[in-house]
């Protein structure tokens, strides 16, 4: 049972880099712009640009590209599934046919486009969590959501919930791994049999995991209360957010890249 190893989903990798030092609001807004760009554009050159941008980000953030790619491992199945659906269900010029299944020229293009879109989406979103600590991310989100507080939106609570969720991802993976090993040691067979049988075999893993999650949540709430946590009011920050010139340049650069490809699309 090695499938939980090397997961970087939601993990923060501290480093003293240009990307790490950017304001979390700048990084969140840049990722939103990039995600919009990824979904809006169809020009093939755009995908090379996204790939190039990822390599540049990896260099500027001092995080190896291998670590960045590991972040996409949990969604590989989803990417393959999405690409498969588009490959077989898109109508157009038939290239290959077998029974009710057919692959069309348009289907191949669509499968590649959707698969790559999803893949880049995960990698860019992963970059945000790799280079921004959950606490910074939470502060950034809270600051961006603050205008909506006047409409009753719980900005601080949402941001804190996200911080804790990200903080507990590695812990819960460890916990799942431990339960898996314990159940396998007691004779559970999680790797053989059909899909239904394997899903059923996971029940003894999920039940203790849920119990542990609730227990941990209760303990954490108590520990937070003991450390005087009472919501966002009156709370200060060790590192208050400060928008710098480098943030303006970074977001302007991202918007320029996205705008360039939108224009390229409109012309093409």
């Amino acid at each position: 049972m090695k499938f939980l190893n090397h997961l970087t989903l939601g993990q923060y990798v501290p480093a003293n880099s240009f990307v790490h030092q950017l304001d979390p609001r700048c990084k969140i807004l840049s990722v939103i712009a990039l995600l919009a760009g990824i979904f809006l554009m169809v020009h093939p050159a755009a995908f090379f640009a996204w790939g190039g941008l990822l390599l540049l980000l990896s260099r500027f953030s001092r995080i190896s590209f291998k670590v960045v790619l590991q972040g996409a491992r949990p969604v590989v199945l989803l990417v393959v599934f999405t690409a498969g659906i588009h490959l077989f269900l898109t109508k157009g010029t038939v290239l290959w046919e077998w029974g009710f299944l057919s692959v069309t020229r348009e289907g191949v293009t669509m499968a590649l486009r959707m698969g790559l879109r999803l893949f880049f989406l995960v990698l860019f979103a992963g970059f945000l969590t790799l280079t921004t600590s959950p606490m910074e991310l939470s502060d950034g989100l809270e600051s961006l959501f603050r205008p909506f507080e006047r409409f009753g939106f719980p900005a601080h609570e949402m941001a804190m919930m996200m911080t804790i969720a990200l903080r507990f991802i590695p812990t819960l993976f460890d916990e799942t791994e431990r339960i898996l090993r314990a159940q396998i040691a007691r004779g559970a067979d999680l790797e053989h049999g059909g899909l239904f049988r394997r899903m059923k075999a996971f029940i003894p893993v999920l039940v203790p995991l849920f119990v542990i999650v609730f227990q941990r949540a209760e303990d954490l709430a108590l520990a937070m209360e003991a450390r005087c946590y009472r919501g966002g009011s009156g709370r200060t920050r060790m590192n208050p957010l400060a928008w710098k010139k480098s943030d303006t340049f970074a977001i302007a650069g991202v918007i320029a890249i996205v705008a360039f490809f939108v224009l390229l699309d409109l012309k093409g």
Binding site: T171, D219, L222, M224, R235, P240
Partner: protein, 275 residues
């Protein structure tokens, strides 16, 4: 409440909702400034419940509890109490809020509304106190169990408390991790910090100035450590395990190799056996 008392409990009882029997029953206890009080007892004796009562995380169902001069049954006092009495729990993983060491230590002072510059100072000092200053930017998931518990202690110290309550804080640690935590406690106590240590490992309370034995939510015995080890015959009844050194000392005393007044310390034992 005595002027030197950090915590004072008067006829305190606590029953968990839906429970048939009270977890704490008619308890009277005073913890004075600068004391190192060890609360010992079997599982279910009420040690952890008592710790939570001291920190106003649980409110007595009967009786009065004063922590740092504040009544714990008044909600408006809870913030003041928790900023003066810090707690460290058993499982460090369940009390670490942030993903980076320094951010977690800063969580408490941030809640107290301390200024950013002062928070940075406090974080640096607290991490130095527990020997984690070099792990400042390390992700919390990358720490060992012992380091995580030291981080939890740093988080508690960052509140600048008068009293530190440790609820079985060494239970999940390896011997080295336990020794590291105990070393920190010794240092804190030497600087005047009031400590309330909950444990069932008697070898960990050798530095305690007072021991309170709890049984079925009541104080069964209270006194100094050497007196406790004179009552080893009652340990099974109290659910306590006799430490190997105390067992050996007892046997040597019976055979008159050691005088009856000898304290169970390795140093004394050596002095008597190898003069």
């Amino acid at each position: 409440m005595e002027p030197e008392a950090v915590c004072a409990l008067r006829d305190v009882s606590f029953t968990y909702p839906g429970a048939a029997a009270p977890a704490i029953q008619g308890l009277d206890l005073t913890i004075r400034r600068g004391e190192w009080v060890a609360l010992v007892g079997a599982n279910g004796s009420g040690k952890s419940t008592l710790a939570k009562i001291l920190n106003a995380l649980l409110i007595p169902t009967r009786g009065d509890c004063f922590s740092c001069g504040y009544r714990t049954d008044r909600e408006e006092h809870h913030w003041a109490i928790r900023s003066r009495i810090s707690m460290v729990f058993q499982n460090p993983d369940n009390q670490i809020v942030a993903s980076v060491v320094e951010e977690d230590v800063a969580f408490g002072p941030e809640n107290l509304g301390v200024s950013p510059g002062r928070i940075r100072e406090i974080v640096r000092e607290s991490l130095c106190q527990v020997g984690l200053e070099e792990k400042r930017r390390t992700p919390t998931y990358a720490l060992s169990g012992g380091q995580k518990q030291r981080l939890a202690i740093a988080g508690a110290l960052a509140m600048r408390p008068e009293c530190l309550v440790l609820d079985e804080a060494t239970a999940m640690l390896d011997p080295q991790g336990r020794e590291d935590v105990l070393k920190i406690l010794r240092e804190l106590h030497s600087k005047g910090m009031t400590l309330v240590q909950i444990t069932h490992r008697l070898e960990e309370i050798l530095d305690a100035t007072r021991v309170v034995v709890l049984r079925n939510g009541q104080i069964e015995w209270e006194g100094e450590l050497p007196e406790l080890f004179e009552r080893v015959d009652r340990f099974p009844e109290w659910g306590l395990e006799i430490p190997p050194l105390v067992r050996l000392t007892g046997l040597l005393k019976k055979r008159k190799v050691l005088p009856a007044s000898c304290l169970p310390s390795v140093k004394e034992l050596l002095e008597h056996l190898c003069p």
